[in-house]
């Protein structure tokens, strides 16, 4: 009697509809919460004025809770040795790349999340973004209050890479990834900037105004962003595109082969 066994999938199967719904909802709530500087003034109104200085810590708490929730949910049923080993090795690459090649906002570590998310799927992409950022924070000695925030942001970059269309040809896949690399380069910067922005409450045209409408705050923030990190983030966006175009195909091919060698059934991811 012959038994045909499919090797376990990468991570825990994310197939059930309820689970996917829960994950998407959690992410949406998280995203909404991150955007509190725009929405909350309209909701809380004048009461916010008294606590405007305390607002930002709400963000850290939220980021921390969100990261924890998502990690718990993704890890339900156990990640398994294959996922943990891949997270370890690819996380090590992120740690190793954190420091060198650091030009303005560009960090070579993003290419790892981009290709790994694209090759192994959004769940793995998110996990790698979170774990790798945490590990490189530990390594570089950069454990700060922004860390949960940064973990989730890099996690989102990885997850997004996993949701891109693959297409039948390499060119399609790479162009999507390059475009996403540019977009995520800017978005990541915009999100990361958001953590320190609400500290700036001096009434200037790029400061946060707890009494203003969402639209006003948004335009203020765009001014703030333009003044502070636009160039920084452009370096990151350009760097991402360059690396995707040069390294995308060989790295993705290597990861696809690794999946086969590990006997992973990626259809289940």
């Amino acid at each position: 009697m012959s038994v045909a066994l499919h090797a376990p999938a990468l991570g825990s199967p994310a197939g059930t509809r309820a689970r996917v719904t829960l994950l998407v909802l959690a992410n949406l709530v998280g995203a909404a919460a991150f955007l509190w500087p725009f929405a909350l003034p309209a909701i809380a109104g004048p009461a916010l004025e008294n606590h405007k200085m305390d607002g930002p810590w709400l963000l850290f708490a939220l980021a921390g809770i969100l990261a924890a929730l998502l990690l718990l949910e993704l890890g339900r049923g156990g990640l398994g040795p294959k996922t943990v080993a891949l997270l370890g090795v690819l996380g090590a690459a992120m740690v190793a790349l954190r420091l060198p090649g650091f030009v303005a906002g560009f960090s070579a570590m993003f290419i790892v999340v981009l290709v790994a998310g694209n090759a192994f799927g959004p769940a793995f992409g998110f996990l790698l973004g979170t774990v790798g950022t945490f590990a490189s924070g530990l390594f570089v000695g950069g454990l700060g209050p922004w860390l949960p925030f940064q973990m989730v942001a890099v996690g989102w970059v990885g997850a997004g890479a996993g949701l891109l269309p693959h297409g039948a040809r390499w060119r399609t896949r790479l162009l999507w990834l390059a475009a996403y690399g540019a977009a995520s380069g800017y978005l990541y910067g915009a999100i990361m900037n958001l953590w320190s922005w609400p500290f700036l409450v001096d009434g200037s045209a790029w400061a946060w105004d707890p009494g203003a409408s969402a639209a006003t705050n948004l335009s203020n923030y765009l001014r703030f962003y333009g003044v502070t990190s636009l160039w920084w983030d452009s370096a990151r966006a350009i760097g991402n595109v360059a690396l995707v175009l040069v390294l995308g195909k060989p790295l993705l091919a290597a990861l696809d082969r690794a999946a086969r060698r590990m006997h992973l059934d990626l259809r289940q991811v």
């Binding site: 200085m53 305390d54 930002p56 810590w57 924890a68 990690l71 718990l72 890890g75 156990g78 990640l79 398994g80 040795p81 294959k82 996922t83 943990v84 080993a85 891949l86 997270l87 370890g88 090795v89 690819l90 996380g91 090590a92 690459a93 740690v95 190793a96 996990l127 979170t130 774990v131 790798g132 945490f134 590990a135 490189s136 530990l138 390594f139 570089v140 000695g141 950069g142 454990l143 700060g144 209050p145 320190s196 500290f199 700036l200 409450v201 001096d202 200037s204 003044v227 502070t228 360059a242 690396l243 040069v246 390294l247 060989p250 790295l251 290597a254 990861l255 690794a258 060698r261 590990m262």
Partner: protein
């Protein structure tokens, strides 16, 4: 590293001090925190690369302070505005300095080991990333040299694959061996136990308690409004200081008087 203070004590200290810095822009309190952070760093720093991070954080703090204050110059400049921006920057900078101390005195593996059971696998992945990273860095150097010895220079962007692919492939082979080994050694089998888990010593507990107290005092002042935490800047006036709050901050100096057994 198990002979040092329980990492949880350090996390409590950094969180408490960070919380205090969060809720105030009073330069007296903030600068006092700077002094304490430096004091604790000096007495507890772990020799090695981690100690360097304090200087990095200090640098980042000063840069942040400079940038925040400099932003004002783009708008209307008057003593009020400058003072306001400076104090905002000082608050952020203080948080950075506190975490600089935290990074310089803790062992990364110790922090990872603390992860609660439910987070065991992500924490393990983070620990793995930390221990494999030096090998990855060495791999990059080796591959670069090996390619040079066959006539391929990896500097121009075009030849990056010659550097990146072998490094990644080596990593992938390692991942297979690692996964097999972990599977064969019972990963994911059931309830785990902890080998020689670090226990809370009295000094560690005292540090955690004092940090918590300091944070609570300041939070109560912030929500209860019984002290001025944000000195007025228009008009510009000298900050008042509340003795109770000064005492609360002084509690955060406790680690400096405790022997951790490290360094």
């Amino acid at each position: 590293m198990r002979t040092g203070l329980h990492p949880g004590a350090w996390i409590a200290w950094a969180s408490g001090a960070g919380m205090v810095a969060f809720v105030t822009t009073d330069p007296v309190y903030l600068l006092l925190l700077w002094a304490l952070a430096w004091f604790v760093y000096a007495t507890h720093r772990v020799p090695g690369p981690e100690a360097r991070s304090f200087r990095l954080f200090l640098l980042a703090a000063l840069i942040t302070l400079g940038l925040r204050t400099g932003l004002v110059l783009l708008g209307t400049v008057n003593p009020s505005n400058v003072a306001f921006a400076f104090l905002e920057g000082l608050r952020l900078a203080t948080i950075l300095v506190v975490f600089g101390t935290f990074n310089a005195v803790t062992d990364p593996f110790g922090v990872v080991r603390l992860a609660p059971r439910r987070f065991h696998e992500p924490a393990l992945a983070a620990a793995l990333a930390l221990s494999i990273a030096p090998r990855t860095v060495a791999s990059v150097a080796n591959v670069r040299e090996a390619q040079r010895l066959r006539g391929i220079h990896v500097s121009p962007l075009r030849s990056l694959p010659a550097l990146a692919v072998p490094v990644l492939e080596a990593g992938m082979e390692q991942a297979v061996t690692l996964a097999e080994s972990m599977d064969a050694r019972g990963h994911g089998r059931g309830r785990r136990s902890r080998y020689r888990a670090q226990s809370w010593s009295r000094p560690a507990a005292a540090i955690a308690a004092s940090a918590l107290t300091a944070a609570v005092v300041f939070l109560s002042a912030s929500f209860g409004g019984w002290a001025v935490l944000h000195p007025p800047t228009s008009p510009l006036a000298w900050p008042e200081t509340e003795p109770i709050l000064l005492g609360a901050i002084a509690l955060l100096a406790l680690p400096g008087f405790v022997r951790g057994g490290q360094g």
